[in-house]
Symmetry: C2
Subunit: 254 residues, 2 copies
DNA sequence: CGGGGGGTTGATGAGTGTCAATACCTGTGG
DNA sequence: CCACAGGTATTGACACTCATCAACCCCCCG
């Protein structure tokens, strides 16, 4: 067990000392897109005060596990995280790859335990927002309330997008859609949308897209052969983003 | 255009007159599972007052359409509703089938317009909850706030379930999973879990499950041949629910 | 009686999963 | 610095699931 929870956490014993952890929300590079973006500056201190800013942890670490008692939601601060749910037999279905500025753990609210697990894809750091404290603030800060609700709603919309990905698209369309989606999200965050690292393994991609490793690999190779992308391991360069987008938008069934 | 919105609605001109529409939440059969279930009785009147109880409308009617300005969320009161999103080319991906007591329209919150459309699968009635009025109440009724948040979170969990359905399961497992899921939800609502009507067409089932009509039909026929179910048109009888459940839980990939 | 929509069943082939062999990459220890 | 091991990715051959196309049935409605 190697969870990065606030209490009883061996790798992060001194949560409030390291300088890095002093970065207030308003000074955080992700402020514009993160939970507190619409909170009045007068209320920001209160929110800031409940947030636990974790140090970076390494690839493979668990942030939380399916079945864990729900205690907090998390914002990715750096690196990337995958969330997945596993069934009785231990099989996994990846639910999402999460980049800096995105919130995770929202599925735990309803049942008081998480239905999914979260693991770091690379060296990554999160901000932990204890939920019972957040609930108190929601009552006092309407904008925060509103922003949380929007966040949840957005998560639903993303889920719908994923449904049409898995329900209606062929292998190459799925891969193209994922590449475009990641490119878009990177661009929102100020990174290059045409040249980036895929933080996850081929197995993760395949799992997320409902494909096998081999199919993912073949599609990427074909895209490369067709001069749509340049692949070198995890490094991806989009050579023909427009064409990829066309592919991604295509609806193959029926 | 035949939307059942509160304003400018031809089929429902007198929203506040029909006796049927006087059923208060606390007297509604769905009270235990619907939005107001945890609201204090003292606060219930205020919530009751903003709810618009629509008369039943007939199969095929739109409740809202993708792109509509977001103004309300809806609770299904009777009948059933499908929600779906459609892409540029007009192709649809069904996002869910919704039974009495379930809320829909939550995806519209984030962008101020709905990303999906909703249509009645049979004669169905909804309660409309104007969102700007609901927002006012959220500030005054913490339990309502909490319940809405849980609702949104539940929706996310349901989405994750659907992901594993489409991502990891074979045709027969998907069909079995859908049958079991509907059976469960009917049971929660006090109906027979082993003998029910599928309100949606085979095309809808196929679309939802990422399969073709023909495959759905074949799987149902095979299930019947194997004495797992009894099919007569839309009428389904589960003969071996345990075996169906085993199938539904099975994870085929890898 | 005819027409049309929805559902079933059959034949066939495309797309992707499966299995297997090989290459590559990364970190570890000598 | 190199060798090695273990995981990760690529590529190929084959099999199987499910989509496609087509014919037909059934039932409801005009």
């Amino acid at each position: 067990m190697s969870a990065v929870r606030s209490r009883r956490n061996p790798i992060n014993p001194a949560s409030n000392t390291a300088a890095e952890q002093r970065v207030e929300c308003r000074k955080c590079a992700l402020f514009r897109i993160c939970l507190p973006k619409n909170v009045d500056s007068k209320d920001l201190a209160a929110l800031d005060a409940i947030i636990i800013r974790h140090k970076p942890a390494s690839r493979g670490q668990f942030l939380y596990k399916s079945g864990d008692r729900f205690a907090a939601i998390y914002a990715v601060r750096s690196g990337s995280v995958k969330t997945y749910r596993s069934d009785d037999q231990g099989n996994e279905q990846i639910c999402g790859f999460h980049l800096p500025g995105e919130m995770i753990g929202l599925d735990g609210i309803v049942g008081n335990r998480s239905t999914s697990s979260a693991r770091f894809l690379d060296t990554a750091a999160v901000c932990e927002i204890p939920y019972h404290k957040l609930e108190d603030l929601l009552l006092q800060i309407p904008q925060l309330q509103q922003e949380l609700t929007r966040l949840l709603s957005r998560e639903i919309v993303v889920g719908q997008w994923q449904l049409s990905l898995l329900g209606r698209k062929k292998a190459d369309e799925r891969v193209a859609a994922l590449l475009c989606n990641i490119a878009d999200r990177l661009q929102q965050r100020g990174y290059s949308p045409s040249d980036f690292n895929l933080p996850m393994s081929r197995a993760d991609i395949g799992n997320f897209l409902g494909l096998t490793i081999e199919t993912v690999s073949r599609v990427l190779s074909r895209f490369q052969k067709e001069r749509l992308i340049q692949v070198t391991g995890k490094r991806i360069t989009l050579l023909a983003p427009a064409e990829l987008r066309r592919l991604a938008a295509h609806d193959s069934l029926h």
